[in-house]
């Protein structure tokens, strides 16, 4: 146990070491460690937020998908409806067209019949007249009995 100036030297060394640690060692290291703690906390919070965002996005994607499916079904249904409608319309058109064609044909036939009848009538008249003429040429004067012939002709 021998005290001497070593004590003073040691005290000075100690004071310098404490000062140095206080100035250049402790603050930068603790600041850095605090910053790291903060960064880790931020990172975890960001991860949590990302997870929530993902959940929301997944939910929205599901909704969109469901909506799209529903829309597709609606479109298909509308298309089917429209197709059957078009078929019905086409049938209608075809039916009326057919009816019209039939009617046209009928009227044509009627006209033809009329025309044939007319022609036939004229032929028959002519033949009758010719026959009568031949008969009457021997018996009646053509000029005298013209009125009578005309009335007969009209009767046909």
């Amino acid at each position: 146990m021998e005290f001497n100036a070593t004590l003073l030297g040691q005290a000075i060394t100690f004071a310098i070491l404490v000062w140095f640690t206080m100035k250049f060692v402790w603050p930068p290291l603790t600041n850095m460690m605090e910053e790291r703690a903060k960064r880790i906390a931020d990172g975890l919070a960001a991860a949590e937020r990302g997870k929530q965002d993902l959940e929301v996005a997944e939910k929205r994607a599901g909704d969109e998908l469901r909506k799209a499916k529903q829309q597709a079904t609606e479109i298909v249904m509308a298309a089917e409806k429209r197709a059957s409608q078009i078929v019905e319309e086409a049938k209608d058109v075809a039916r009326t067209e057919g009816a019209r064609l039939v009617a046209d044909a009928k009227s044509d036939i009627d006209q033809e019949v009329l025309r044939a009848k007319e022609t036939l009538r004229e032929h028959v008249a002519l033949l009758a007249v010719a026959g009568a003429e031949k008969i009457l040429r021997h018996e009646i004067d053509k000029a005298k009995h013209a009125d009578l012939l005309a009335s007969i002709k009209a009767e046909f």
Partner: protein, 269 residues
């Protein structure tokens, strides 16, 4: 052998004094130089790490330093509740410096003295008169230098927290308190005596605890070194292993008690 052993022990327990006659103004070159070098080791490592500290991907050394800082920071925050920029760095310095000084005890007891003796001989000195004690904390000068500095911190913290008047009043009125002015006047010197004893007891207990442990440890290593070489490991190994605990514990205790004393200083009685 007996005189030889005594001489061996005496040689190991003699400081490298700057003056042959000793005296107050001489210094222990070994204690001073070795503790200074260890201080440089401490601040060198820590300042380098602090300078290159990375928030991400810290290296092994940085992690080690960080774990020490974390250890000290937790202890200080638990004990010392006031705000202070000094206490935690002070505690860290004490822990690391004392640990490094104590750790010199782990070196073979004859290694550095033998090196010193050879260097001394090469420089033309008598190797028998080259002294080197390698454990600075086994020198009362080193331990008292720290503990008296701690006492100055205690006084400084007391004055800063309570004011010079407040601290003076506390010295005279605690621990014995009286409302009667006459009785208070009578109790004042008793209180002062108690307080001064308490104040003095702190650095003395701090430094003598550390000194005693390290001196005893060193002495036992010296005694073990006197055994026949084949038997040395039998005692040397257990003692060295046990001493790993002692050197760490003593450094830790010094740090903790310093923090406790400083927290007592800023808290009102």
């Amino acid at each position: 052998m007996a005189s030889n052993a005594t001489e061996y022990i005496k040689h190991h327990l003699t400081f490298w004094n700057s003056s042959h006659e000793g005296g107050f103004w001489s210094i222990h070159v070994d204690t001073f130089t070795i503790s200074l070098l260890l201080g440089f080791v401490f601040v060198g490592i820590f300042a380098t790490v602090a300078r290159n500290a990375k928030v991400e991907n810290p290296g092994r050394l940085q992690l080690f330093v960080e774990s020490l800082i974390e250890l000290v920071d937790t202890q200080v925050k638990e004990i010392f509740h006031a705000k202070s920029k000094v206490v935690a760095p002070l505690a860290l310095t004490i822990f690391c410096w004392v640990f490094l000084m104590n750790a010199m005890d782990m070196l073979p007891v004859d290694l550095l003295p033998w090196v010193a003796a050879n260097i001394g001989a090469a420089l033309g000195h008598d190797p028998h008169h080259v002294y080197l004690r390698v454990v600075p904390s086994a020198d009362v000068n080193a331990t008292f230098a720290m503990s008296l500095s701690v006492m100055l911190y205690i006084i400084g913290f007391s004055i800063k927290a309570k004011g010079l008047g407040g601290w003076g009043k506390e010295l005279l009125t605690a621990p014995f308190h009286a409302h009667n002015p006459v009785l208070a006047l009578f109790l004042a010197p008793i209180n002062l005596a108690f307080q001064l004893v308490e104040l003095a007891a702190k650095p003395i207990s701090l430094s003598l605890r550390l000194f005693g442990n390290m001196y005893a440890g060193e002495l036992i290593f010296i005694l073990i070194a006197l055994l026949p070489w084949g038997a040395q490991w039998l005692l040397g190994a257990p003692w060295a292993i046990f001493h790993i605990l002692v050197i760490t514990l003593q450094a830790f205790v010094f740090m903790m008690l310093t923090t406790v004393y400083l927290s007592l200083a800023v808290e009102a009685h």
